[in-house]
Amino acid sequence: MVSAILPLVLEDVELRRQGKRILGPVSLTLEGEGITVVMGPNGAGKTSLLRAMHGLERINRGRAVWQGGAEEVRARQAFVFQTPVLMRRSVLDCIAYPLILDGVERKMARARAETAASQVGLDVTLTAPASVLSGGERQKMALARALIRAPEVLLLDEPCANLDLHSTAEIERVLIAARDRGTRIVMSTHNVGQARRLADDILFLFDGRLIETGSGDAFFAGPETPEAMAHINGDLLP
């Protein structure tokens, strides 16, 4: 797949909220293929970094530059939130919604949503309201909705938080399949085991700063910083 909106370049991106620095300055370049996992303790800025990449946060200093026109950049990336946003619609219509926004005819959109649901293994009554879904099913629904536009870049904020092992495994299977189809994935996670399983690259954040990057294998074999070492070993950080 020919990448059009990558590489993404972040130049000294800094986010401040209420006078407090919550992220940055962070500089990085995102390109190539695979899954990049953003790691770090709570409050390190993982969510802020992902949201800043996606353009959901106002950047106070520095900039995030995608390639291509603004319209294209927005259309070719998707975001999965930690808490899936449930629309007050049927499961099927929730998944089809991005296509409806694109002007796809409703019948066609629903048919494609059905395919998307089966691809993520969402095995529920699709005409039921989305609010009846369980936690794992909600996340799968959100994933199907994010993937339905066949995004070039998929950003996920803790997609498996609060999910049991079984649901986590299913989500990971979908993510790996998406990666193998050429989708560039950036996700944050708390779960060190999940990071080990999925990461092609690691971004390790600590206190709003990007303190370590590298390939997944190298990172887990021997992290360079004491903070990263402590994080993967599950030690309490000072």
């Binding site: 959901l56 939130f81 629309m87």
Partner: protein, 234 residues
């Protein structure tokens, strides 16, 4: 107590015999108020959604004004519409004064702020839920409003019903601009005011009971049509 029993009795008789006079003013009440509710909804619902979704200067001011307008005194609205529509007024050439159209105009002015304000409250909560998703999917402004109106339709129906409730029972404005003319602009509320003034409490009460029954019937019909309170949350 006698009056009430008498009123109930008379109401029953009027309804059972399908009294033509009663049917006429009941239908006119319905026609005027339903038309006003539809027009006010078309204006008020998008207005409420627009205010909920957009950030602009004077937004708080606009919301405060809207909420204040909910308490607009119907008599004053009637007076202003009267002045505007009277022969010497700016819209006098249309000859609308003392017609059902004038009554509809007055009611639209009274209930649009109510519908806009209640829908603003409802849409604001929904917008808080949907905000990140709709921004992430880069929905256009019109698409956002459309989505919020559709997904918030149950709450918006409540807004429309609140407007309907206010309009169907309103007498001050339509008395002034309609004139309570028999066979032309007489509706249930103005007829009640007239019969009370004449001292015919039995008939006034009968009309009152019909009015209440009408309001309940319209509410029930809408709820049944839209299937609210059947699903759990939405």
């Amino acid at each position: 107590m006698n009056d009430i029993v008498e009123g109930l009795w008379q109401a029953a008789r009027l309804v059972i015999t399908l009294d033509p006079g009663l049917a006429e003013i009941t239908l006119r009440s319905l026609q005027v108020t339903l038309t006003a509710t539809v027009i006010a909804s078309v204006l008020g619902l998008p207005m409420g959604a627009w205010i909920a979704v957009n950030r602009f200067r004077l937004r708080r001011f606009a919301i405060a004004i809207l909420n204040a307008l909910m308490g607009l005194p119907p008599v004053v609205v009637g007076l202003i519409v009267y002045v505007l529509l009277s022969r010497s007024g700016p819209f006098g050439v249309f000859g609308l004064l003392f017609t059902p159209t004038a009554m509809i105009i007055a009611q639209v002015i009274i209930i649009t702020p109510i519908i806009a304000s209640i829908s603003h409250q409802a849409i604001r909560e929904l917008w808080a839920d949907y905000h990140d998703l709709l921004i992430s999917l880069h929905a256009t402004r019109a698409q956002r409003i459309k989505t919020l109106l559709w997904d918030g339709r149950r709450a918006l129906m409540t807004a429309a019903l609140a407007g309907f409730g206010r309009a169907i029972g309103e007498v001050g404005a339509i008395m002034i601009v309609g004139g309570n003319i028999d066979h032309a602009t007489r509706v249930l509320t103005t007829a009640i005011a007239l019969e009370t003034g004449k001292g015919d409490f039995g008939l006034a009460l009968a009309l009152g009971f019909v009015l209440i029954a009408l309001a309940i019937a319209v509410n029930l019909a809408l709820h049944m049509l839209s299937g609210t309170e059947r699903g759990s949350r939405w």
